[in-house]
């Protein structure tokens, strides 16, 4: 943000809906996750570790809550007095929701987290000074801080796994914040290839690591502004709109057949991930 930019655009600040802040032309990356299909196998989380060079912090630091899983599988169950409550486990894969009006972006003192043209919430590691204000203001708490210098810590990436590290992704040093990027390295590669061929990225041409590894296809990912994409069709079928803070499903009296919702929508951060409500009673 330059001073000229600041002064020139001052009058335009927030005179429009936050989702119109960036053009989303020709891309708006978004996701849909079917909770009915999720079996809680954690394959997505493992794939994320491999794709994004996430440090494996070990048991001790995990216990201290310093784990770095960008993608986490949450477990919920009812306290309804059944003998084996884990029979009623419900799973929820949670990662950065790439909010359109992201609470983390406005509070960063150095502007290290920004919104991109294609609707991602980006994180600039080199710019981050580690004030952790973004995480403090994130309602989903999906940002992970490098509490230690993991690249120089023993057993984070054991020697025999050196070749497993992804060369397309940097490793992060101590003191910076990181989070799910929607596998931005894959998106950029696909966007550049498509641009060179004078077209836009086709549906199915790019997958996120979590989507790729999901055995039940619970995760779909794609370009929301492309009417041919699966994500677009799912969002449309569920009548979920990016710019609403309460979806159709929750407005109808006496319930609805629709399943689509976004988490903590009422906070008006306009997340880019739609969840499909569970219909089955149990995962098992």
């Amino acid at each position: 943000m330059s001073v000229t930019n600041l002064l020139d655009n001052w009058a335009a600040v927030r005179h429009f809906h936050p989702i119109d802040d960036k053009p989303h032309d020709p891309y708006k990356w978004a996701m849909a996750i079917d909770l009915d299909a999720c079996i809680g196998c954690n394959a997505c989380a493992v794939a994320c570790y491999a794709e994004n060079n996430l440090p494996v912090v070990g048991r001790e630091k995990f216990k201290h809550g310093q784990v770095m899983h960008w993608m986490r599988i949450e477990r919920y169950w009812d306290e309804d007095g059944r003998d084996y409550p884990d029979q009623g486990f419900q799973f929820l894969p949670m990662m950065c929701q790439q909010c359109e009006a992201a609470p983390c972006e406005t509070v960063c003192p150095v502007g290290a987290t920004n919104h991109t043209q294609d609707g991602l919430n980006s994180q600039i590691y080199n710019r981050c000074i580690g004030s952790r204000y973004c995480s403090a203001n994130c309602p989903f708490k999906v940002r992970y801080f490098n509490w230690y210098d993991y690249p120089t810590t023993e057993n984070v990436w054991p020697a025999e796994m050196n070749y497993q590290l992804n060369p397309d992704v940097t490793v992060r040093g101590k003191g910076v914040m990181e989070k799910c990027t929607f596998c931005v390295q894959r998106l950029r590669a696909a966007e550049v290839t498509a641009k060179g061929e004078g077209r836009i990225v086709r549906e199915g041409e790019v997958q996120t690591a979590c989507q790729q590894s999901c055995p039940t296809g619970a995760i779909s990912f794609g370009n929301l502004v492309d009417p041919e994409s699966r994500v677009h069709k799912q969002w449309q079928a569920q009548q979920v709109d990016l710019d609403k803070d309460m979806q159709e499903k929750n407005q109808k009296e006496g319930g609805s057949d629709l399943r689509g919702y976004r988490i903590l929508e009422e906070l008006r951060s306009y997340p880019s991930v739609m969840y499909l409500e569970r219909v089955r009673e149990s995962a098992v």
């Binding site: 630091k61 003192p109 000074i129 995480s135 203001n137 309602p139 101590k174």
Partner: protein, 454 residues
């Protein structure tokens, strides 16, 4: 009882205050020793944390802020009363402030310096902190002007530089006295340099008055804005327990409160250590105590406002958090805060205790403990019990590194403050003379005082 003895001679004022620069009571050296010790511990902890990473503070995801931010607010708050005493009461012509405003102003400056350190200690990449400063660079990369943290940085630097200036300008006539009374040596050279050639001419006094008044007027809105901006760090976020409209006045009231309590503590220490019994008198102490009591009640009221607005807002998450504060793992500290902040000051309402030094000393320490707890209870519970139940973390406890740095900050502050009081006149000589002069006018008219004594 009178605020100050009216027949005290000007020469004696000079003598008494100059003595404080020479030979304090032995307790001074004891305090200094423990201050250096505590500061050393803090430095050790910080060096370790710098080397290892922030993880050694036992912060975690999502509990990313802890005692550093809480103590940061505490020190910023502490800085407000110096300005209250020296600037606001100056404009209101409350002349009882004159013997005590100098050390209060020093307290402002040094607590701001301590607070500034906490911003640094808190940063994950301390070595890149200058990214948050709007310095010109060839890539046109600027900090994010939307961020309350950036406003914070600017407000604190402005406040710090202004209050250093205010402290210095107000001290010039006294530095000249020190220069004239000091035997030769490095200190005399220092005073000569700092006195800026002050001769006490009519023109100098007039310029001095205008300058002093101007800075005072500049400082008052600044002080209010600084803590309002610190409150914005929380109020501007959307987290439960933070997103409260009444936070800026609440923070300012809390700031004045803890600052006044600290003034009472330091008043009692200085009075003993530097033998200032003639100047820091009990009637003056009584006035600060009554002021502190009033502010304590304002703070209590604003607390009630906050609870009521959360309670009746039907914001389920905030309400849940409030209940969690009262009954959850933080409950002992939360109730200790209510006790120390709202119940303990009731002692001040009892006349008998308003001049009882041991009671006041203990009480003022308790008040500051309460105010520190208040800041902690603002910062931490929100992280442990936020919007997202999966990330609730009720067990997080700060590591010894965090406690060590917090402890060290008290050493750092005490060190700076005590060295200042030994180096510079901590009672404003010229203003005490002014005070005595105005108060003894009637004595002169009655002719009860010998010619030439004043």
């Amino acid at each position: 009882m009178k605020d100050i003895r009216e027949d005290i001679a000007w020469a004696k004022i000079n003598q008494d205050v100059m003595k404080s620069l020479e030979n304090p009571r032995p307790l001074y050296w004891v305090i200094l020793f423990f201050a250096v010790l505590a500061f050393g511990i803090g430095i050790g902890c910080e060096v370790y944390q710098y080397q290892m990473g922030m993880g050694v503070a036992n912060l975690d995801n999502p509990h990313v802020w802890g005692l550093y931010i809480a103590t940061f607010i505490f020190w910023i708050g502490m800085s407000h009363s110096g300005t209250l005493l020296s600037a606001i009461l100056h404009l209101m012509h409350a002349d009882w402030r004159k013997p005590i405003y100098r050390f209060a102003e020093a307290m402002t400056t040094f607590s701001l310096m301590t607070a500034g350190l906490f911003v640094m200690v808190h940063l994950g990449r301390l070595w890149q902190f200058y990214y948050a400063v709007p310095y010109p660079n060839e890539r046109w990369v600027w900090p994010n002007f939307q961020s309350p943290l950036l406003w914070d940085a600017m407000a604190i630097f402005t406040y710090l530089s202004s209050s250093v200036l205010f402290l210095f300008v107000g001290m010039i006539p006294d530095l000249a006295i020190a220069r004239d009374n000091m035997q030769s040596g490095w200190r005399r050279k220092l005073y000569t340099l700092l006195a800026l050639g002050w001769e006490g001419t009519d023109r100098q006094w007039r310029n001095f008055r205008v300058t002093y008044l101007t800075i005072a007027c500049f400082l008052i809105p600044l002080a209010v804005s600084v803590h309002s901006i610190v409150a914005s760090d929380f109020g501007m976020s959307q987290q439960p327990g933070w997103h409260v409209t009444s936070f800026p006045p609440y923070f300012v009231a809390g700031a004045l409160y803890s600052g006044c309590a600290a003034i009472i503590t330091l008043f009692i220490i200085l009075r003993y250590v530097f033998k200032f019994e003639e100047y820091m008198t009990l009637p003056i102490l009584k006035k600060i105590v009554r002021l502190t009591f009033a502010i304590a009640m304002v703070w209590t009221y604003l607390n009630c406002v906050e609870f009521a607005s959360v309670w009746y807002s039907h914001d389920a998450v905030s309400k849940d958090l409030l209940i969690q504060k009262m009954t959850g793992p933080y409950a002992p500290f939360w109730w200790a805060m209510i006790f120390c902040g709202s119940i303990v000051p009731l002692i001040f309402a009892i006349k008998r205790f308003q001049t009882n030094i041991p009671v006041l000393f203990a009480t003022s320490l308790l008040l500051n403990l309460g105010m520190w707890l208040e800041r902690w209870m603002i910062v931490s519970p929100t992280f442990s019990h936020g919007y997202y139940p999966w990330t609730w973390d009720h067990d997080q406890w700060p590591s010894m590194i965090q406690w060590g740095i917090v402890f060290g900050s008290f050493g750092w502050f005490t060190l700076l403050f005590m060295v200042f009081c030994k180096m510079f006149p901590s009672v404003s000589m010229y203003e005490v003379k002014e005070m005595v002069y105005h108060r003894s006018l009637h004595l002169k008219q009655n002719g009860t005082v010998e010619q030439g004594v004043h």
